[in-house]
């Protein structure tokens, strides 16, 4: 088994095919989208492949150490930051192909007009621990 992080972006991903902001959808289309996401996670729990999923608020801060005895420097949010994570799902699957397959399904969640959003999701493998048996 290998763990993968599926990342959804507010900003920074290539433009999806069906690119309409959610508040311009009909309420029924929003419900259908939510149901799809919910069913997807529930199905992965059933197959034993779901690990975790969280959504993030769009606004955050940048923080860094500013030397001994000084409070940390905070800044931002920076409008020019290209990448803004909206949320993630962690899955534990048998193969890289399976991770791609599931990300593809998630990207097919319905949006405006009930048609798939074709949203670009980022799939990142977790670094693993070394195997016990090496020869």
């Amino acid at each position: 088994m290998a763990k993968y992080l599926l990342l959804k972006h507010y900003r920074g991903a290539p433009t999806p095919v069906n690119d309409v902001p959610m508040e311009k959808w009909t309420p029924e289309e929003i419900s259908a989208h939510m149901q799809y996401m919910h069913d997807f996670a529930a199905r992965l729990e059933n197959t034993g492949e779901f690990v975790d999923g969280q959504a993030l608020a769009p606004e955050g801060s940048w923080v860094r150490y500013d030397g001994e005895g000084r409070p940390p420097v905070t800044d931002g949010p920076f409008a020019e930051t290209k990448d803004l994570i909206a949320g993630w799902m962690v899955i534990d699957v048998d193969s890289h192909e399976r991770a791609l397959e599931l990300a593809g399904e998630l990207s097919a969640a319905p949006g405006a007009g009930g048609k798939p959003i074709h949203e670009w999701l980022e799939v990142r493998p977790f670094l693993t621990a070394p195997p016990t048996i090496t020869d």
Partner: protein, 379 residues
């Protein structure tokens, strides 16, 4: 076996151990061990005196642990004789535990966790699941909390307001995992109300009951939020409402008004309206005015603006809102609602979408996006 009945004995048993001279942290561990043992042993062999059984087992566990500790330290002065329990009144012990677990030296998250374990008898695993953190993290939080209060004298009186704040936090966490925190908060507040005569304890209990009564109506089948005005009032729990109103009236009659009684009074006025249109908004505004005198919470001012909008029209509500800080959470959502009531759907839709972007609550964000979508679809 009734898990809640078992757990309701927790604070008394713990109180007895502490009274016999066990330090709080060790006694608390011993009681947890005894609870686990009870869950294992009672189904096959139920004791005649559950409380006595728990005290005996917990005390034995405490002595075993103390002996093991002492052995590790190569010391011989082990407590061996079981001292006679002092003049125990279970209620007093329970009350002291509430105060200790909500001690002002604890952070809110520590006080909540310690209360749920030491007073509520929940396991660390259950508390961890309810708050969506790893069990090891919650175990550390609880053991640090116990160390923090270990120097506090068990017989020192506490401030009931700190206890009420902790119970309020537990109630507001609602429902996640296999533990119903709202129901647990109600149970703990009932237990507190049984042991202490205080109108604000009654006020908080009434507030919880009145809100709990609406729970089934508050979410739709798909999990989305249903606002108060659109809730199916036939799904409200009338028995809980009647109980809450009764408790509130008795508390108000004592003429020592507090924040929780005022909040409960507002909840009771909502509960009293058979339809949203029958809501007595004028009285609700008056209660918000009382509440604003008792607390400087800006949330109260925001909710008051909504009530003014209902009582005196959306323009009056917007005027009340204009006096408040625009950066307050939910300020934009309230503005959107009032503009919609005023018929300015374009502004309302724009503000709902903006409020959704600012929301820090997933269910609320979904709700606000839906509101924006609903208005955009109508225009």
């Amino acid at each position: 076996m009734d898990d809640v009945l078992l757990r309701s004995l927790t604070p008394e048993v713990l109180g007895v151990l502490v009274r016999r001279g066990a330090d709080f942290a060790a006694a608390e561990d011993a009681v947890q061990d005894a609870l686990v043992e009870a869950v294992r042993a009672w189904p096959a062999d139920p004791p005649r005196d559950p409380k006595g059984w728990l005290i005996t087992v917990a005390w034995r566990r405490f002595l075993d642990a103390t002996r093991a500790d002492a052995a590790r330290r190569r010391r011989e002065d082990v407590v061996d004789e079981e001292p006679a329990p002092g003049p125990v009144t279970g209620v007093d012990d329970t009350l002291r535990l509430y105060f200790l677990c909500a001690h002002p030296s604890l952070t809110p998250s520590s006080a909540v966790a310690l209360t749920l374990r030491a007073v509520g008898g929940l396991t660390t695993r259950q508390i961890a699941q309810a708050y969506l953190v790893p069990e090891a993290t919650m175990a550390q939080r609880i053991s640090r909390a116990k160390r923090t209060v270990s120097g506090v004298r068990f017989d020192s009186p506490g401030d009931v307001a700190t206890v009420l704040r902790v119970l309020y936090l537990v109630f507001n966490e609602g429902y996640s995992g296999d533990v119903d925190l709202a129901a647990e908060a109600i149970r703990l507040t009932r237990q507190l109300a049984a042991g202490i005569d205080h109108p604000e304890v009654a006020g908080l209990l009434a507030l919880m009951l009145l809100h709990h009564a609406r729970r089934a109506a508050r979410t739709a089948a798909d999990g989305s939020l249903v606002p108060l005005a659109e809730q199916d009032r036939d799904r409200w729990d009338t028995a809980l409402i009647a109980e809450g109103v009764g408790i509130l009236q008795a508390a108000l009659a004592r003429d020592r008004l507090g924040e929780f009684q005022a909040q409960a009074a507002i909840a009771a006025l909502h509960a009293d309206a058979r339809t949203a249109a029958e809501t007595d908004w004028v009285q609700i505004v008056e209660w918000y005015d009382e509440l604003a005198r008792l607390t400087d919470s800006p949330v109260v001012q925001l909710n008051r603006a909504v009530a003014v909008g209902e009582a005196d029209g959306p323009r009056a509500g917007l005027a009340a809102l204009a006096e408040l800080d625009e950066t307050l959470p939910r300020h934009t959502a309230v503005a959107a609602y009032l503009h919609e009531r005023d018929g300015d759907l374009a502004t309302a839709a724009r503000l709902y979408a903006e409020a959704a972007r600012r929301s820090s609550d997933a269910a609320e964000r979904d709700h606000l996006v839906r509101q924006a979508a609903r208005l955009n679809a109508r225009r």
